[in-house]
């Protein structure tokens, strides 16, 4: 089955197509962050170059975050619209999973760290399992200090990846000795690879069931007391 992967949860926007024979074609742009302008032409380009009609696709995979609100929204909207029009199922995969997956051959703890802006990051920890990686503990959002505290508490050999690890390299290394390298952005190729193994198990959903993972501070009521008390 051919899978189209749409990845736009971070600064990078990317599209991949793949299936049984692995990844067939990929297009990525990591600068400029013009997700909305780039995505549709990128899908067309990848399909044309790989000589694939949209109607050949059997599934649409999409990165559901956490990441940039604006980027995710563009990717999810495009992915859902395509899946609906083509009447095919979808697979949503977390950006943290996508960052960890290419590091599945290390025996260290893999820690994808995504820039959440305002000094905060999203992160999760993964360990190697046969054929891939597995998340240990729930994904978290918080200040860099919390990430460092989490790393210290675990005190295991760690590999940090992602744009958050890249941006806050010094802060992380100041607090905890570890390696920072590997992928900076989740890749659409990893998305297609991971989605393919799920598709084999028919672990897909309908477009209406795909929800973004925002992973933000808990929602709170705005205190409009000041507003109401005013004339």
């Amino acid at each position: 089955m051919l899978i189209l992967g749409i990845e736009s949860a971070t600064q990078q926007v990317g599209v991949s197509i793949g299936g049984h024979e692995g990844v067939i074609a990929t297009f990525e742009v990591a600068r400029g962050r013009r997700h909305a302008e780039i995505l549709a032409p990128a899908i067309q380009f990848v399909c044309r170059q790989a000589d694939i009609e949209l109607t050949d696709l059997g599934c649409i995979a999409v990165d559901v975050g956490p990441g940039l609100f604006t980027g995710m929204r563009v990717g999810l909207a495009a992915a859902k619209a395509l899946a609906q029009a083509l009447k095919i199922p979808m697979i949503g995969i977390s950006s943290l999973d996508l960052l960890a997956f290419p590091c599945r051959h290390t025996d260290r703890v893999v820690v994808p760290v995504i820039d959440a802006r305002k000094g905060e990051v999203f992160w999760a920890m993964y360990r190697q399992v046969p054929g891939g990686v597995q998340q240990v503990g729930a994904p978290t959002v918080g200040p860099i200090d919390d990430l460092v505290a989490d790393l210290l508490a675990r005190s295991q050999d760690a590999l940090c990846v992602g744009d958050g690890a890249d941006r806050y390299r010094d802060e992380i290394l100041d607090g905890f000795h570890c390696e920072i390298s590997g992928p900076v952005h989740p890749s659409p190729a990893a998305l297609v690879q991971l989605a393919h193994s799920r598709a084999l198990r028919e672990e897909w959903v309908r477009p209406g069931e795909i929800e973004p993972i925002y992973l933000r501070a808990p929602d709170a009521q705005i205190n409009w007391a000041t507003r109401e008390s005013r004339p």
Binding site: F69, T70, R73, R230
Partner: protein, 174 residues
């Protein structure tokens, strides 16, 4: 920094001076009660950035975006209708600022901690100084009245510009 705008023209001039110092990435919170002049300020600000479309209150659509050349978009938001911080988060205003934008947020002071570095512009009626050439008292709206405008920066992004802010607004200082 406390300023006094004797009229709507002054409010627009102050906005225009700040627009000259604003840059991509800025979030400017517009605070003050209904009718204080937040939208009026945004109009002066937008005009200075070359926005030719009329800037109207975005109360119903939440965010209006005005392209100001190839590398800058002015976003004008009004969060008065929102009830939860999650709803505000969904607008992703800091992202709009980060990627080629300047964002003005009416009523943004109620959730300002979520914005990180920003400038707050707080408008209020100048009860004391008013009356000289201002409202006749029968109707507050549409008339030229004095306003007090208080500027306050949170974070460091404005500290390097503060001298120029003060210099540009010297004539309006209280």
């Amino acid at each position: 920094m406390l300023l006094r705008a004797a009229s709507l023209v002054d409010t627009c001039a102050i906005a225009s001076s700040l627009a000259g110092l604003a840059r991509v990435g800025d979030i400017i919170v517009l605070a003050g009660e209904m009718g204080a002049g937040k939208t009026a300020f945004a109009q002066g600000f937008g005009k200075a950035l070359g926005v030719t479309e009329p800037i109207t209150s975005p109360t119903f659509t939440l965010v209006h975006s005005y392209p100001c050349g190839p590398k800058l978009t002015l976003h004008h938001a009004d969060i008065y209708r929102l009830d939860s911080t999650g709803d505000v988060d969904q607008l992703a205003l800091p992202e709009l600022a980060e990627f080629g934008g300047i964002v003005l947020v009416e009523w943004g002071d109620v959730v300002a901690t979520g914005f990180g570095d920003h400038l707050e512009v707080r408008l209020s009626r100048d009860e004391v100084g008013d009356g000289a050439g201002g409202a006749d008292g029968d109707d507050d709206f549409g008339l030229d009245e004095a306003r007090l405008i208080e500027l306050q920066a949170t974070g460091r992004s404005w500290s390097g510009r503060w001298d120029r802010v003060a210099y540009g607004l010297e004539g309006y200082r209280c």
